[in-house]
Amino acid sequence: MTTITTRGASRRGLLAAGGAVLASGLTRPAIAQGAPLKVGLMLPFSGTFAALGENIAGAFEMLLAEKGGRLGGRAVQVVRLDDESDPSKAVQNVNRLIGRDRVDALVGTVHSGVVMALVQASRERGTPLIIPNAGNASATRDLCAPTIFRTSFTNWQPAYGMGLALARQGVKRAAWITWDYAAGNEAGEGFRDGLRAGGAELVRELKLPFPETNFQPLLAQIPGLNVEAVGSFFAGGGAVQFVREYASAGLRDRVPLVGSGFLTEGTLQAQGAAAEGVRTALHYGDGLDNARDRAFRAAFQERTRRTADVYAVQGYDAGQLLSVGLEAVKGDVSAERELVAAMERARIDSPRGAFTLSPSHNPVQNIYLREAKGGQNVVVGVAAEALADPGTGCRMRAG
């Protein structure tokens, strides 16, 4: 198990490493152009999210390979660390990357609890951080910082797109069903805001404790709500079961089920016929008709023998964004102001379609409307064009 290697940090080792970091931070030695630039990939390589971590890391390394293994003129060394999606080990893992491995930049992670340790470290030590998945709003809202960037989404964004698309189709009343935890509630706010923006109303929120899967008590309430659609945020195994139970409760044909894209992301095969026709919104999908995406998917398949998905795209774009920043400072990460400024201005030519970054460093991107057809989330339109997260509560120094 990978845990064995993470136990290496003794107290003395930590102190020494901490001292070394402090010293290097104080003296800011001139960058030896020969020394490789170290990028820490803190991602889940085991556990429930292992496939997501592998795709993010695989795509990031593919971008590196395309650049000849060099960013901003410096050779790049990737340090992979398995965070196991375990929040209780998160701080120790971040300290290990920064203290012992002396990484110059961080990329991570999937789990929104674990990412908080990375956010904290980036805020305190100024190590550049690019978040390639975790969608918790606070990383680019109240806890935003100049050195923290995201190439994925906020939970608010896809759900906002879904709510807006529903309202534009003429739906007036909708309900929301989710787990009662941060991601589900943030997505619920997005859904409500999207419905409102289109003149519709969220009449009821149904919640159950995370990660329970006894959905029946909630489903039985839906016929009595008099709504025209039900929006939802579930992921993984919970999403599989929810979509199947929604269908077997006889609700699918009477009250259409929609959701934030994760409802049907990587789960369609297990959901089977129950998911057919379910509409979701996400910043990526199958059958995006652009050459960039086709080339990316072919190259990723060729290199990793895995199928590209939204996670691979987010990992690839984390590499692209870091590349833009490092080109601007010729590989000198200590030039923080210039590095950040270049990344803020970046226009990323992503397989999902080009995107820029909002003032709080989150992608301003199209949210696509997708429909589950034959095991694919086929893009059928754009739910919200160039959508930015509101970034509420983010206060960064200007420039």
């Binding site: 039985a220 195994g237 199947r244 409760a249």
Partner: protein, 286 residues
């Protein structure tokens, strides 16, 4: 009104599934005094048996006898190799043993079958929605599970109350020394109870697989709620597990439907109240 009827049906169905899991837990504790934390893992094993057998044969039906036989064999083997040596040890030792079993079972599952989520197809004959009430449907399979749980509960009641083996088990649960006085072989009874308790958990897992999907650590949530059932019903009492499971199933379901702000709390408040009122549980023999 129709909503309430649907919710009561939901509660009964959930409660009966909880009964299948917690009856084995309470039997094993009642007869052997062992706190088996790995009981949830046994439930998980049953669900994975259903996943594998259904995948191989194309039908869930085969997985039910396989889950029962696997449960009996696994339970007997665990009893013979491990638990037998722990009956007279402290509860802390038993907790350590059964916690280790959880880790072993999870790691074994991870190595053999990976960490993915899987769903298990409902048998084709029962893959239809039956309109229940007020525009809310029930899958025929869910109703079949409800009936199956009732039949199993009835069979258990008859076996325990009306057969010689059943009376020996009751004697073992109430006064362990009685068993030897009566000239019965306590070791055989222990092995039988452990095997049956395990088979109940694996059967519950197999029956639940199409309803709850199959995924790593799926037993943990069920283990905790089953402990609540056992404590509320009275430790060691199968009748207590039955009524306790129905009560917990109904309270949990109705709280989710009508008191959503307290839904995660309701069953634990109920448990605390029962413990204050009757510290040995609702059905414990005094």
């Amino acid at each position: 009104m129709s909503g309430l009827v649907a919710q009561i049906l939901n509660g009964v169905q959930y409660g009966l599934l909880l009964f299948l899991i917690s009856s084995g837990l309470t039997l094993i504790f009642g007869v052997m005094g062992v706190i088996n934390l790995a009981h949830g893992s046994l439930f998980m094993i049953g669900a994975y048996v259903a996943f594998v057998v259904t995948g191989a044969t194309g039908s869930l039906w085969w997985s039910l006898p396989v889950a029962i036989l696997a449960g009996l064999a696994l339970g007997a083997a665990l009893e013979r190799a491990l638990f037998r040596h722990f009956y007279h040890r402290e509860h802390l030792d038993q907790v350590l043993l059964t916690f280790a079993l959880i880790l072993l079972f999870e790691e074994g599952r991870s190595m053999l079958l990976g960490n993915d989520f899987h769903s298990v197809a409902v048998p084709a004959a029962l893959d239809v929605s039956v309109p229940v009430i007020g525009g809310f449907s029930y899958s025929a399979y869910r109703l079949a599970v409800l009936v199956a749980c009732l039949l199993i509960a009835g069979a258990m009641f008859l076996a325990i109350e009306r057969t010689r083996v059943g009376s020996a088990i009751r004697a073992a649960a109430e006064k362990p020394e009685m068993v030897n006085l009566l000239g019965l072989d306590a070791r055989r009874i222990h092995m039988l109870v452990f095997a049956v308790g395990t088979a109940l958990a694996t059967l519950a897992g197999a029956l639940a697989a199409p309803l709850h999907s199959v995924y790593p650590n799926m037993g943990n949530g069920f283990l905790i709620i089953s402990f609540v059932v056992v404590v509320v019903g009275g430790v060691g009492s199968v009748a207590g597990a039955f009524w306790g499971a129905l009560l917990i199933g109904l309270v949990d379901t109705l709280a989710k439907a009508y008191l959503p702000f307290a839904s995660g709390l309701a069953v634990y408040v109920l448990m605390a109240a029962v413990l204050l009122w009757r510290p040995t549980g609702l059905f414990a023999r005094a």
